[in-house]
């Protein structure tokens, strides 16, 4: 800044006085050095800054987002494995094939996401949580296997106690670790986006460009007065280059910032809220099923169901309400509205489930919890789950579109700035050298 500002604002004033002393060739030489130097410096700084923003924007789209998705899918797969395994246990033995396949697919997906996250190792703070999941997942699967084996051998009560131990392993160890990884990957996504849209350096580059432009204009005015030549084509070309580059930079940056902020605010944020709602819904469903497996007489499952219900919504402060607020229009909003309706009707079925439990009508309760049919709890939960899934998919489309557009807005800009800086330096150099030559 200090190296350049005098060239624009103060240099002509100084040259006017020095003209009487050192004479015009000296002044022209000083202008030449200042303008060429400032152009080169601006080119380097501008290209570097744009490179930084472009790579941060690209990181959002190509690296942070996929990792955040892996982390979310890991979290959701584990949560889904829990609710699927408990439901399968209640329905068996033998466990229905489709449910068993879903459980196995959950574990396979969790293992794949775990591998992807470990391979990326983007955030070494996650290493302990990733290691904990690697170690605890086989233990969980072992407990589920024991539950199924005891049940198949005619010891359903022992099987049931193992199913509870498995679920405890999931809720007390695996899911908290998965939540931690998801939170940290989400924070990394937010940080990459903040780097892509952060202001300070880009404002500096724009101010410098304006300063150089002013210096070029004042230099041309000075030359016009001194040499009585109307146009200096070199300086004119340099001025045009700085104007084009500045406008391009400003437009590209504003577009990228808008796109990325929209992708986060209307894409990533509601998707994240809905993912949390999906996981809370799975926990609520597991409460309903485990209550029937444990029959402990404790109200704890119903209490937890009620807590999850408040968390999910609808209702002020709930996840569904927040997701609706973040994405008020479009396919995502429609899915959230459907989720709010289907959640309410599922809760009323669950209310009947818990009333049957209090009445110790376990046969009717079991039918209501696991039997297929539109009026059952399984169907109600499944409708809510698919609404939330559709919402997440729609939000994901918004996010990906915004992140790709935001990242694309910087396309060619880095090269453009270098070319502009070269034109500015060459134009200033050529234009002023021709004037200098007239003094020989």
């Amino acid at each position: 800044m200090t190296a350049v500002a005098p060239a624009g604002a103060a240099a002509p004033a100084r040259t006017r006085t020095s003209l009487r002393g050192a004479g015009t060739p000296g002044t022209l030489r000083l202008m030449l050095i200042t303008l060429v130097g400032a152009s080169a410096l601006w080119g380097i700084l501008g290209a570097w800054t744009v490179g930084q923003h472009a790579s941060a924007a690209a990181q959002v789209a190509t690296s942070s987002e996929p990792l955040s998705l892996d982390a979310r899918q890991l979290y959701q797969s584990l949560s889904d494995a829990d609710v699927t395994a408990t439901t399968a246990f209640l329905a068996g033995p033998p466990e229905p094939l489709a449910v068993r396949q879903r459980y196995e697919a959950d574990l396979a997906r969790a293992a794949a996401d775990l591998s992807a996250l470990r391979a990326a190792d983007a955030n070494s703070a996650d290493a302990p949580a990733l290691a904990a999941i690697s170690a605890d997942l086989p233990v969980y699967a072992g407990y589920v296997q024991q539950a199924q084996a005891y049940s198949a051998l005619g010891h359903p009560l022992t099987g049931g106690s193992f199913m509870q131990v498995a679920s405890e392993q999931m809720h007390l160890r695996l899911l908290p670790a998965a939540r931690q990884i998801y939170t940290s990957q989400n924070a990394a996504l937010g940080a990459a986006s903040a780097r892509a849209t952060g202001l300070p350096l880009i404002v500096l580059v724009l101010l410098l460009a304006v300063a150089i432009g002013v210096a070029l204009l004042r230099t041309q005015r000075w030359l016009t007065r001194r040499t009585h030549r109307i146009v200096n084509y070199g300086l004119l070309a340099a001025t045009a280059a700085v104007i084009v580059a500045t406008v391009w930079l400003a437009v590209a940056f504003t577009t990228a910032r808008t796109d990325l902020e929209r992708s986060l605010g209307h894409g990533s944020t509601p998707a994240e809220l809905l993912a949390r709602a999906a996981i809370a819904a799975q926990q609520a469903r597991a409460d309903e099923v485990l209550n029937l497996i444990s029959r402990s007489g404790s109200a704890s499952f119903q209490q937890d169901f009620t807590a999850m219900r408040t968390t999910i919504g609808p209702g002020s402060g709930s996840l569904l309400a927040a997701a609706a607020g973040a994405a008020p229009t479009g396919a995502g909003a429609q899915a959230v509205a459907a989720a709010e309706r289907d959640a309410s009707s599922w809760y009323s079925v669950a209310g009947r489930v818990f009333r049957l439990d209090v009445a110790a009508n376990y046969a009717a309760e079991t039918r209501l919890v696991i039997a297929p049919g539109a009026g059952g709890s399984a169907a109600g939960f499944s409708r809510l789950e698919s609404d939330i899934g559709r919402g997440i998919a729609a939000d994901q489309v918004v996010f990906t579109a915004g992140a790709t557009a935001g990242s694309g807005a910087f396309g060619g800009l880095e090269a453009g700035i270098i070319v502009a800086a070269l034109i500015m330096a060459a134009g200033s150099g050529w234009g002023l050298t021709r004037r200098l030559a007239e003094y020989r």
């Binding site: 033995p93 033998p94 466990e95 068993r100 196995e104 574990l107 396979a108 293992a111 775990l114 591998s115 470990r118 391979a119 690697s134 170690a135 605890d136 997942l137 086989p138 233990v139 699967a141 072992g142 407990y143 589920v144 296997q145 024991q146 199924q148 084996a149 005891y150 198949a152 051998l153 005619g154 010891h155 359903p156 009560l157 022992t158 049931g160 106690s161 193992f162 509870q164 131990v165 679920s167 405890e168 809720h171 007390l172 160890r173 409460d287 485990l290 444990s294 029959r295 402990s296 007489g297 404790s298 704890s300 499952f301 209490q303 937890d304 209090v358 110790a360 009508n361 376990y362 046969a363």
Partner: protein
């Protein structure tokens, strides 16, 4: 690492498919799988070296509430421990298992005594709670049949008991009961099934036994701390184990499920004690060897947090209705001194406190050594 995990998961999947294929009860999965490897972190699992031999010198009062079944034994343990370490006082209160769990969770009691392990619902709401087994308990089936003769134990099984409690067997000389008791002259008196009036761990154990013995019962009624008992005209609801014993004592033809610690009272009241059929088909009485055998078959499979249901286990000589009595305790204590005293007391209970001199009065059985080891690991996690 990821490859290794995949391999483990693949093995698990193969094992699952194997078990499903052999649901009929043969081949690879006929023996219950072994517990997964131990990981020494997380709630409930602490280092084994952290157990203090003494409760420390601080003057402390530990409060206990919970199971009425455990109450007499806990009072004896508390007195003995106070005698050994006069600076430690332990107060006990028979409030019922549910209150004991709630008090331990809320921190209004240092220890909760429970006839059942924590439900995973309790643990999701309060992940800090541990259930530490203290002793082996069991449930007996008593009846009032005068004139059977000394030393005769009526043989019963889950299917027959389910029919007695469903009202399809109405007299003691029913052919289904007689078929189990050849050579015994069963009286032609009416069956009066007694069940608990309130929510009870005893009802949970008994209805579990009926559910494993009779698929029809399991489908229609099921198991639970509360059960929708079939409407049987003769049936009666009683409060607590003492209510069951007292009512049975004055009701000819009664059948009642009662905690093993009431056996002395039941025998003194002239009640008979049934030999129950186990999963292997043998009729066994609830005594030391049959209780220990029943639990032994579950020892290799017991998970780290010692949550396990052992009703109708596979042991040939095992009594079918056995369970652990538990202490419910928070892993995070308010002060190191209190944590130390709780750890020392619980460790004493499952070792010295498991001597016959203490357990004999309530007919409980001592914990097997591997269960003590797992319990010590849990106790070591208290901070």
């Amino acid at each position: 690492m990821a490859l290794k995990l995949r391999r483990v998961l693949a093995l698990c999947a193969v094992a699952l498919l194997g078990c499903a294929a052999s649901a009929a009860g043969v081949t690879a999965c006929a023996t219950p799988p072994q517990p997964p490897p131990v990981h020494a972190t997380g709630p409930g699992i602490g280092s084994r070296g952290g157990l203090p031999a003494t409760p420390g010198s601080a003057r402390l009062t530990l409060t206990e509430t919970g199971s009425t079944l455990l109450y007499p034994l806990l009072r004896t343990w508390a007195a003995a421990y106070h005698g050994k370490y006069p600076n430690i006082t332990i107060t006990t209160a028979p409030t019922g298992s549910g209150t004991g769990i709630a008090d331990a969770s809320a921190g209004t009691a240092d220890l909760g005594a429970s006839d059942a392990f924590l439900s995973s619902g309790n643990l999701v709401l309060d992940p800090d709670l541990l259930n530490v087994p203290l002793a082996i308990s069991a449930q007996q089936i008593n009846y009032n049949l005068p004139g059977l003769g000394p030393g005769v134990h009526v043989k019963l099984n889950g299917a027959v008991l389910a029919r007695m409690y469903s009202g399809s067997i109405t007299t003691w000389n029913d052919p289904a009961i007689a078929a189990l008791n050849r050579g015994v002259r069963l009286p032609a008196i009416r069956v009066v099934p007694l069940h608990r009036a309130e929510s009870s761990g005893d009802t949970f154990l008994f209805s579990s036994y009926l559910s494993t013995g009779d698929p029809g019962w399991n489908a229609a009624i099921g198991y639970g701390t509360v059960v929708a008992w079939p409407p049987v005209p003769a049936a009666r609801a009683e409060q607590g184990n003492s209510g069951m014993v007292a009512a049975c004592a004055v009701t000819r033809g009664c059948v009642a499920y009662v905690g093993i610690s009431y056996l002395t009272q039941a025998l003194a009241a002239g009640l008979g004690e049934a030999a129950l059929q186990n999963a292997a088909g043998h009729f066994v009485l609830p005594d030391g060897p049959s209780l220990r055998a029943a639990v032994a078959s579950f020892v290799p499979a017991t998970p780290q947090n010692e949550t396990i249901s052992m009703v109708n286990g596979p042991a040939a000589g095992g009594y079918p209705i056995v369970n652990f009595e538990y202490a419910i305790v928070a892993a995070r204590q308010r002060s190191p001194a209190k944590a130390r005293a709780i750890k020392a007391f619980l460790h004493w209970v499952i070792t010295s406190g498991n001597a016959a001199g203490y357990l004999g009065q309530v007919r409980f059985q001592p914990l097997p050594a591997p269960i003590v080891t797992l319990a010590d690991a849990q106790i070591g996690g208290i901070r």
